[in-house]
């Protein structure tokens, strides 16, 4: 039976069964989540984003979810690229919809519950994977991570052993399918890339229907020494959809993690992306693209922590704002005392297409080492009149010229995606989305 309760009630009485965590552990985290409380108006990090009314709202956990139809699956699947596919509905992996091709020995793709079963049966990699759960999500400080840990029923999981290259990108298709009333969906992803391994992971999130929902997603990525991770996340929520997402990366010696978040809709979306460069020679890249219109409110928070010497980071965010949309970017670069020779770059550019849209950029630098290179810059502009006239003077009609220029503004973000097989599908997605913007 689906029940609707407020968040506080759910945290007081979490489902009495093993979920992401054991029954006992989820009760403990639930108590913690209650203590942390939801971020309020005095919380500086949440200054621009209100989830007003959330405390009072009765939410369903959507455990007995319907299966998505082909159309919904196709809407979120990039075309023209061979992928392994995990399908998650309302936070729960659905084994019958997963499509996984032949994999190198030792690679694990599936639900966390299946991994737990395998570990019980003596599979040592599954056991190792489980040891990484909830180490990065900051569920002791971050309320939404604690809520996810307490109420999530399962997770999608990826284990790549040392030295193995994933043969195809992994697509994690995560759908929110609200039923009778407002839904709380809690997808979770845990990925561990062993030393010298390589993987491309595409998270495609989408919400359907006109019912309200809150999707509280948490993803954790352990990128061990000299491994390479390319992570692309596409978020296409419905106009009634609210999303709070947390993506957490730990990058070890000589390893590289690159993450790209494309936000293409939703009512209120808050993305928190945290990357820790833990050992010397680690490098990280956080990119984002927002294509906003209507009433969409997007709040991107990044935090790059340089904790060791000789690490590099790059952050690049671009947002297109049409109609009454809002885009906020808060980017933090933290350089610890002994993180000498840090090279950190942060850029944020917004293109505002309507007088009612609003863009805000807030760089935050906290530098405790002295031999470092940190640069940041942000721009807010509109469509360039000279460029527009140039295109029109060559015969390109005004609306097409506007679309070309907006697409060009976005395309620099595509250029940062190294997984070349993903570039064209992403480009098509952007082009389709932009057709509504100009």
């Amino acid at each position: 039976m689906s029940q609707a309760r407020t968040l506080a009630e759910w945290l007081e009485h979490p489902p009495a069964r093993d979920g992401l965590l054991s029954t006992e552990a989820r009760h403990e985290v639930a108590r913690l989540a209650t203590l942390l409380g939801l971020p309020g108006p005095r919380d500086e990090a949440w200054r621009y984003t209100r989830l007003s009314g959330l405390e009072q709202e009765a939410l369903e956990l959507g455990v007995e979810a319907p299966l998505p139809d082909e159309h919904q699956l196709r809407a979120l699947t990039p075309e023209g690229v061979t992928l392994d596919r995990l399908v998650v509905v309302n936070g729960r992996p659905v084994p019958s919809l997963c499509q996984i091709g032949p994999l190198p020995d030792g690679v694990g793709i599936g639900s966390l519950s299946a991994m737990r079963q395998a570990a019980r049966e003596g599979n040592s990699s599954a056991a190792q994977l489980l040891e990484h759960l909830d180490l990065l999500s900051q569920s002791r400080q971050r309320a939404f991570s604690a809520i996810n840990s307490a109420l999530a029923e399962d997770a999608a999981a990826l284990w790549v052993p040392d030295g193995v290259q994933l043969p195809r990108p992994l697509l994690v298709l995560s759908l929110v399918l609200p039923q009778a009333g407002p839904l709380l969906s809690q997808p979770r992803l845990l990925a561990v890339l062993g030393q010298h391994s390589q993987a491309t992971v595409l998270e495609a999130h989408g919400g359907f229907g006109d019912k309200a929902y809150l999707c509280n997603a948490v993803s954790e990525f352990h990128v061990q020494a000299h491994a390479r991770l390319e992570h692309v996340r596409v978020q296409r929520d419905s106009v009634a959809g609210r999303r709070v997402s947390g993506a957490f990366f730990q990058v070890m010696a000589g390893a590289q993690a690159r993450t790209h978040t494309y936000t293409l809709g939703g009512r209120t979306v808050r993305n928190e992306i945290r990357m820790e460069l833990v050992e010397p020679g680690a490098s990280g890249e956080i990119n984002g693209l927002g294509l906003l219109k209507g009433e969409t409110h997007l709040d991107n928070h990044t935090h790059v922590a340089h904790l060791a010497p000789d690490c590099q980071s790059h952050q690049g965010f671009r947002t297109i704002l049409a109609e009454r949309s809002q885009g906020i970017f808060t980017g933090r670069i933290q350089v610890a005392k002994d993180a000498q020779h840090t090279d950190a770059v942060q850029q944020c550019a917004s293109m505002v297409l309507s007088p009612e849209a609003r863009a805000v950029a807030r760089p935050q630098l906290e530098i405790l080492a002295d031999d470092v290179k940190c640069t940041h810059g942000s721009t807010v502009g509109s469509l360039d009149a000279n460029s527009l006239f140039y295109l029109r003077s060559r015969g390109i009609p005004g609306d097409l010229a506007r679309r070309i220029l907006i697409h060009a503004f976005c395309s620099t973000q595509l250029g940062r995606v190294r997984a070349s097989e993903m570039v064209n599908p992403l480009d098509r997605l952007i082009t389709r989305t932009l057709a509504d913007h100009a």
């Binding site: 006239f389 003077s393 060559r394 015969g395 390109i396 005004g398 010229a401 070309i404 220029l405 060009a408």
Partner: protein, 254 residues
């Protein structure tokens, strides 16, 4: 082909063109010369339809139709091409993609079929060869990181691809070395035909050694103050514009 009558135009509230009249017939090349600030670039931009250039009175007819109520893209599709004095850099838009979009938009406007990828590439390589250009620049974004000379050559290359009926060259020759100047003149001369006209705005007679004009006009104080054959350009080169004030009552030295 082009008939301008008593054209008055303002930029940012200031009147720049003050009763300009000019007629360009099919197949003719007209040079417009004159001191700085006389309105040469304003004329080119008014004809191409740039925003911010307001026509307060007068008329312009092109191919027998009123030009001034047409959008810039309509003018282009009807065969007007402006080679910009300062070509715009557009990061993120590849040159070839841009040209193909432009060419196909013009073809659609004229009720023609879009050009196939194969024919388009053939056209590109043919015109590159004609101008002795290598294809390196075409693989980059529109004018991005191009030198001044490269930008001007790119304008001429675009002109050859789009094959206008009326080309407006807005000081395309300024700042060019002799090789680049050759590209510009080769481009214009390649299009010369009874159906092609050009208005060449220039400061220097030297371009007119390569593009031989049918008529030369002196623009000063927002009006054509003198017209003549190509020998007028040589005279201007020798004597400068100091005489204008005396002869026409317009102060050209300010």
């Amino acid at each position: 082909m082009l008939k301008i009558q008593d054209l008055h135009a303002t930029v940012a509230g200031k009147e720049i063109l003050k009763g300009l009249s000019l007629e360009v017939g099919p197949g003719e090349i007209h040079a417009i010369m004159g001191p700085n600030g006389s309105g040469k670039s304003t004329l080119a931009n008014v004809l191409a339809g740039r925003e911010g250039y307001e026509v307060t009175s007068g008329s312009v007819s092109y191919l027998g139709r009123d030009l001034l109520n047409q959008e810039p893209e309509e003018r282009a599709a009807e065969g007007i091409f402006l080679a910009f004095q300062y070509p715009v850099e557009i990061p993120g838009v590849p040159n070839l993609y841009f040209l193909r979009m432009a060419l196909n938009a013009q073809r659609r406007h004229r009720g023609q079929e879009e050009i196939s990828a194969e024919d388009f590439l053939r056209l590109i390589s043919e015109k590159l060869k004609l101008l002795h250009l290598d294809d390196g620049l075409q693989k980059r974004a529109v004018n991005e990181g191009f030198s001044g000379g490269e930008k001007k050559r790119n304008e001429i290359f675009q002109m050859l691809i789009l094959e206008p009926r009326l080309a407006l060259l807005d000081e395309t020759d300024s700042g060019l070395d002799i090789d680049a100047l050759k590209v510009v003149s080769d481009g214009v001369n390649a299009l010369r035909s009874p159906d092609f006209s050009a208005v060449v705005v220039t400061h220097y007679q030297r371009l007119l050694d390569h593009i031989v004009p049918d008529r030369v006009h002196v623009l000063a104080g927002g009006r054509i103050v003198r017209s003549g054959g190509r020998e007028l350009a040589l005279e201007l080169e020798r004597e400068g514009y100091g005489w204008i004030g005396k002869e026409s009552g317009v102060d050209a030295t300010r």
